[in-house]
Amino acid sequence: MIHCKDLKNPQTEASLRILIFNATHKNMTDIDKQIQDLKERLQYIQDIFGNRENANVSLLGSKLNDFVHALPSLGPAQIKRQLGSLSDLFTFLENKLEKELTPMDRVRIVRHPQRVCLKDILENVYDNYTEIGGQGEYSIDPSMIIARAYITRNVGKKIYKQPVMVIGQEKGHGQEFRNGGSVKPWGNAKALEYMKVAVTENIPIHTYIFTPGSYPVEDYPGAAQQIARNIYAMAGINVPVVAVISEGGSGGAEAIGLADTRIMLSHGYYSVISPEGAAAIEGRAKSGSRISPELVESCARQLRITAQDNLKMGYIDRVLQEPSLGARPEHFDFFKKLRQEVILATDEIILSVRGIKLFRAIALRKLNNPNIYVRWGLSQKSGERLLWRRYQKYRALSRWAYKDSTPAWQKYKIAVSEAAWSVYSFLRYEFFGRHQRAITHLAEDVQGEVHALFGRVMHKTSKLLRKLPGVKKEKEEVCQLTTLSTWEEGMSWDEHCRYISPQANQDRTLPCPNANKFNCLDLWAPDLFGDFAGVCSHCGHHFPMEYEWYLFNVFDPRSIREFSPRLESLNPLDFEGLEHKLDQAKKQTGHKSGCMTFEADIKGIRVVVAVLLARFRGGSVGAAEGEKFSRAVEQARRKHMPFLAYVHGTAGIRIQEGTNGLIQMPRCTLSVRRYLEAGGLYLVLYDTNSYAGPVASFLGCSPYQFAIRSANIGFAGPAVIRETTGLDIPPDYHNAFMALSRGHIQGIWDRREIRNNLHHALMTMGGEFLYYR
């Protein structure tokens, strides 16, 4: 401190001068800092708006430039005033620009390095956390972060610490090893492991989705198969799951996204494919050629990827408003709101399934930020209720995205017959079946005891008896050895050969693709597609056959009964050109959607079958296909029948349907899980090419997956892998044999043996009742 009397002292005078200098200097650095801040804000805006010309953005640029140029000639008061107005102008125009954001701008916001990421959320939303399963780059997959965190709540005079398991992708805080949030299969496996830990500990799971998509490598556990495993497990996790979506890219998002409540950040996107990917497919771009930004922009718009669009379609539960032009780590208010939102969501889920809840549930709904306490653990019964609610929630989604043109009287008839079947099944398997089983088990035990007691005696006696003259020896063996075998009944050859492939109607030969390796001879088309069932007689290569071939050659003649054939694929997003393509496909195949469902017999065993038709838009799965698949699974469950999914080929989720298609991944998997838990037998048979979404969910989750020889199975095709990862993959990367050696499928079958193999599988895996319990 300097006193007035000291002023005469030259030493003090000098220090005073320094002080004044420091004060102005501090002022200067403050100004510099503010200018720097404004410059960064401008840079951010320019990044977001890309190359687009925008009057507001250029206005901001010129104003800031003018100010910086005029700076030396301005006094401190003027500087302060002008800075204030400039900052106001920035805020004003940011709010104005916010309204002009296109979907593609939102994609750029989400991908911006300044975007909030999971580590920021862990720091600011939770009160404390411990990262588990890795530190920074020393992790099995640094792009997947798992943390055990807690939230402290003061209610009344008490302080509660509520633990949660936080799981999510991380893009920042070490970009060089985060792989852009693109999680490898083992990262997803790690997530699954800790979800199971959360179940053991009975604590809620909060997932944060920050991924452009999964990393498409097939190494064990395999991108597709691991996502399928994750979705399947999440369908049965009996603790509350809250998902927060910022960047929800396709399968990567679904791997941790099957939640009771899905909150989406207002500037995020949730989509079946990146806009660039969609544009590449739409524009049929060859690898290496550039796609026009206009096409990307139009795809982003048409896919309806924004939070509001998804809310309207019903695939998310609520939108959390972010600050103008997107949340960045310095927006502390946003974190506060996010914290309230996740707490509220978790509370709501818990209260919706808990017994004693009345007042608290009302309080939660009525008050914005209630100061009430809800314990975040669930009892066994509440857990079951939670699962049932989750199933119903997803089952009810995307109902508007397909058309069911079944006449009303038929719908009524179906409903009645379904109800009758439910009653019958209950009586037959639950009520009567249980008693019958108890009696059978008792009888078996008694029989066993009797056998153990009298077995020896009987054996001895029968030996003695056989030695007596006049007692006949068993004739059966002799009979078997001396008479000729006969055809199996019902297996007359011409009954099975009525289907003639159109490929067989050409007078030409075809080369086998393996001719160079095995010196296969050319095959004459009528032979190959007629008698040889499309199999090279030299090396066994399987040429693709139409799905009709299987209908005629696998199932018993005249046993196929198709159901819900009038369920029709639509163009729910009015995607340009899809209408026409769908009409073409419908005309070409005679089917209304890419999925055919029916009941049929295989050697007398009744099964429910769902076929994905490769010829209908590449076998892609949209809302109608998903609904048909789910209905088929339900049918199998109701009638206690084994369920077979024959994949004649699938290219993945139908991208033109956007999230309506994507949501079929969790939706169908939930149905499958319900069926399997009720004791069903679910077989999957892959043919030709099966890729992406369906393999990564309701097909890949089957414990019994088989492939027909020469099939290809994988997550992403070679071109996509090359583009996203830069890896050059060998030509046989997705081959069925590779999939088998990686452990993705359980066996490879010859096409000519499918009928026998399926029957055999049904008998060995299904056992006596073809339905476990």
Partner: protein, 216 residues
């Protein structure tokens, strides 16, 4: 003993080889490449998965099977076959002039100048410890071997067999195997040349390394 320098000069006079592409089977020919002087490519890709340039299609029983260029080069001349004509298997179709690369020239010369010792059976090979130590301390071209010397150990399924050298005396000039990897039967293991030839070969190889111009 051969004159490697003369061999190189001979190669230099005609620094290419001419490949005759002939019909792999009978059929009606439809040329895809119609003019001489056109540059063609051979198989490429990490796994040789991309075939070479399409030269022609050979149609037999309605099946148009492609004939691809086996190596990089330029089409030199067509044999007297008309487009659409029926040809028998083995009929020469066209000639491709393939310019030799550095590696190919070196391989030709080494193959002629060296005595190659080939793997008697499939397995992993490594040098006996004396030779191994010598190679590691003094370099590859320091090992003198003569007929009947113990030179290699063949290791297969934990069974180790000593292999004796058979062939002319000399020094080990180069090796073609890696002791970590299995070697197929009859694949060359190492090349031996007489001691007085070493310098000769070395100069020629150096000359190729520095002076050979690969032509497109």
């Amino acid at each position: 003993m051969i004159d490697t320098m003369a061999l190189l000069n001979e190669i230099k006079k005609t620094p290419y080889k001419e490949i005759t592409v002939s019909a792999p089977h009978s059929g009606r020919i439809e040329f895809a490449v119609k003019d001489t002087g056109i540059k063609v490519n051979g198989v490429s890709g990490t796994w040789n998965e991309r075939p070479g340039t399409l030269l022609a299609r050979l149609v037999r029983e309605g099946n148009a099977k492609p004939v691809h260029a086996p190596e990089k080069g330029e089409v030199l001349h067509f044999f007297d076959i008309e487009d659409g004509q029926f040809v028998q298997a083995g009929t020469p179709l066209l000639n491709i002039r393939h310019f030799l690369t550095k590696q190919e020239v070196m391989d030709i010369i080494l193959k002629k100048a060296l005595n190659l010792f080939k793997a008697p059976e499939k397995g992993r090979y490594y040098f006996v410890s004396d030779i191994d130590i010598k190679i590691k301390t003094q370099g590859l071209r320091s090992v003198n071997i003569k007929d009947g010397d113990e030179v290699l150990i063949l290791s297969r399924m934990k069974r180790e067999t000593i292999i004796h050298y058979e062939g002319p005396d000399g020094i080990i000039y180069t090796t073609y195997f890696d002791s970590n990897e299995s070697v197929d039967m009859d694949a060359p293991l190492f090349g031996v040349c007489p001691e007085d030839q070493v310098n000769n070969i070395k100069t020629v190889i150096d000359k190729i390394q520095s002076g050979w111009e690969e032509q497109e």
